[in-house]
């Protein structure tokens, strides 16, 4: 992960699909809507995820990081 080792194998199941829970799909859709509306671009989004404090970043799942990134950007821009 991120070019670092020590996180163990990535579990892959045949039928896991794109999302593991409904909230993940909602986060995915929320990001798509906010970007389409021009609130931020993908590079700002990647930058926001990189600004998550390291401990929180490492403890979070993939879509938890997306949600934290969205929260950071909305706070930065004074929207939420």
């Amino acid at each position: 992960m991120g070019g670092q080792s020590g996180f163990g194998p990535v579990p892959v199941t045949e039928d896991s699909g794109a999302f593991h829970a409904d909230w993940e799909a909602r986060v995915f859709a929320l990001n798509a809507v906010l970007r389409k509306r021009g609130l931020y671009n993908v590079d700002e989004f990647r930058d926001a995820i990189e600004r998550i404090p390291p401990g929180a970043y490492l403890a979070a799942s993939y879509f938890e990081r997306w949600l934290m990134g969205i929260e950071i950007l909305l706070a930065d821009k004074g929207i939420a």
Binding site: G2, G3, S5, N41, V42, D43, E44, R46, D47, E50
Partner: protein, 89 residues
């Protein structure tokens, strides 16, 4: 377009305060240019809201996993903007 397919290039060791789309694990490493993929706005600039962002050629660059991590027989191909790369003499 500065680099041609087959060229050996080194990913620069860059660590700016702002976002850069240059993975830490390739910095300083030598790879091979697979192809130029066209031009793209520099993520560093877009992440900072600089308008207009600089536009550069983006290259697919292949690195040997064993050189990045000391093990593995596979390779890793990374999209890298031209200013992230330098020639290998």
């Amino acid at each position: 377009m500065r680099f041609t397919p087959g060229a050996k290039v080194r990913a620069r060791v860059l660590d700016p305060d702002h976002h850069i789309r240059l993975p830490r694990y390739v910095r300083g490493q030598v790879g091979e240019v697979i192809e130029a993929e066209g031009e793209g706005p520099l993520p560093d600039d877009r992440a900072r809201g600089l308008i207009p962002p600089r536009v550069e050629t983006v290259y697919a660059v292949r690195f040997r996993a064993a050189e990045l991590w000391g093990t593995g027989t596979h390779s890793v191909t990374v999209d890298l903007w031209e200013s992230y790369l330098e020639e290998v003499p």
